[in-house]
Symmetry: C2
Subunit: 335 residues, 2 copies
């Protein structure tokens, strides 16, 4: 069903407030979740709220900590998230890195012991909207099999890149290195729809069109060997810098039983050497280039999300009724 943005946001923030989050923490965490729904990524949307609140109640997530920042140098920040909420720790990291990147040209943060960041686009866009280039990397539970392999050994290891493109909206890329998310497969299972045979393997390591079998198996890396290589590089890079665990030992982004021991890396670069105007012109040329289908012009990453967001602001956010019932009940329960 379609629900007004302001209503959804208010209920989500109320629920987080009732779980003990400060207004600031509740707004940051709530915004990341609601933005995901607005942009058409419900797997990272408010359906994650009940588990998150359960994590808070079990002290697997500490709602109001901003973590411990230790500068190894003027441009290298080590962050012990202290079980903080992803968006709270992440926003604090960006606030710290932005001036460092302006002073030094580049700054990096390696983050551990922090809960799920959620949709990485939110962070990359936040950095780009400051006039800086952002690269955000994260790891997760083992869900993806190596190319040529048949057991989940890697996280979905997303990468997001934000680049200022004034006077247009910032360029924002956000992709998981799996072909699709496990959330999308769960969604097919829920609806009883088969999946394409190149999305996942079953538990025995065979290609499957059965979403239920896929949920017990592993996701394919996107783009074959290349996507596998990229996902593996992200796994190693994040673990090397943050001291986080490797996928087979990672827990806590999908459950409410374990501390979250994946890692995150933020790189911020100051592109001041060049005006962004030509970036916008080039993107316009890409969009105007001939498309394969006359009714479907060439798009740039982020275009679809922006258009879905505009629709949601105008007409409401599509929220699953069961999810909404659960979220509203969390907002009205006694604290």
């Amino acid at each position: 069903m379609l629900l007004p943005f302001e209503l959804v946001r208010k209920v989500v923030i109320d629920a987080l407030r009732r779980s003990g989050a400060s207004q600031t923490s509740a707004e940051l965490q709530g915004d990341v979740l609601v933005e995901a729904d607005m942009r058409g990524h419900p797997s990272h949307g408010i359906q994650r709220l009940p588990r998150l609140i359960s994590r808070i109640s079990r002290q697997l997530a500490i709602a109001n900590t901003t973590g411990l920042h230790v500068w190894r140098s003027g441009s290298y920040l080590s962050v012990d998230g202290g079980r903080g909420l992803g968006p709270v720790i992440g926003a604090g990291v960006i606030d710290a890195l932005a001036p460092a990147a302006r002073s030094h040209g580049v700054a990096i943060a390696a983050v551990r012991d922090t809960n799920h960041l959620g949709m990485l686009a939110w962070y990359a866009e936040r950095i780009a909207d400051l006039g800086l280039i952002g690269i955000v990397l994260s790891t997760s539970e083992a869900l993806v099999h190596p190319w040529g392999g048949r057991r989940a050994m890697l996280g979905t290891n997303p990468i997001a890149i934000g680049i200022p493109a004034p006077p247009e909206a910032s360029f924002v890329l956000d992709l998981a290195t799996s072909t699709v998310s496990m959330g999308k497969i769960a969604d097919h299972a829920l609806r009883g729809h088969p999946i394409p045979d190149d999305w996942a393997l079953d538990e025995a390591g065979h290609a499957t069109t059965d979403p239920a079998a896929a949920r017990r198996g592993s996701l394919t890396p996107f783009g074959g060997a290349k996507g596998y290589g990229l996902g593996l590089a992200i796994e190693l890079l994040v673990a090397s810098l943050s001291g986080s665990d490797f996928a087979p030992d990672v827990h806590g982004t999908l459950d409410d039983e374990h501390p979250c021991n994946k890692g995150d890396v933020f790189i911020v670069v100051d592109p001041s050497a060049r005006s962004g105007r030509s970036i916008a012109s080039y993107l316009t040329a890409v969009r105007a280039s001939p498309s394969t289908s006359p009714d479907r012009p060439v798009a740039v990453p982020g275009d679809g999300a922006r258009s879905r967001r505009r629709f949601a602001l105008e007409h409401g956010i599509e929220i699953d009724r069961t999810v909404w019932d659960e979220v509203t009940s969390l907002a009205v329960q006694a604290a």
Copy 2:
């Protein structure tokens, strides 16, 4: 035909020396080309030497310049390559970034007006072998169409990532964001072999299995929309930082008529927070995980290249006879 490594290297270096390159420049440029052949990437191998030497003779490449280094801060290096050779400028950039990364945790270089770097793995590996993490990005002529588009608007925009993994060899990922290289398509054209229908579009923007038609058309991005997004992000990131041109206006990596106006970015990070041993153990676990085919174990990026390199050192490098004739003639011509 199979030729001894030492012979190939000597002839290539002689040819570069005769074109006016110093011993140091000739060795750096020669090694990058010969290493590509040894690792099974002839498109980036010594077949590029004749055009490179023509570029030197036409002063589109200046063999012995190391470019102009300007530090914008202790960790941000701007490099005007002054038409230098890719490997000469690139090696100098790594020499400069490594101590900066050790002092500051992270260092970045944006490089313009430099000839083709060649195989990026060489640079990423050089950085990782210093105990540092390296990310190398580069752009190129317009060869790749946007996902959903049918005109080449992007470069092949490769990314390489090198990560120390002691006591094992460094992890090295090197991938172009096209499905295959234009060199591979040229190779099919030469042999009269058809290409799979998802490698390229013809000039009119239709999928084709004819390699000759594909050479006049455009390459597909790898992994559909995701690979397109990654390639586009690299295009924007490199241009934002280096001030290089965008793909439709880029020349000079494939011709001997234009200055080379693509850009390159190097990011070096010091992973000193973590011992590399667990990286090696994790990679061992990935390799040991069950494979889809019993006679083909799971591999890690770089494994194939290393094994081809070992073969080449022991048995000789596979070099095309026509290429070899051309290269040897360049080595014995009067300077």
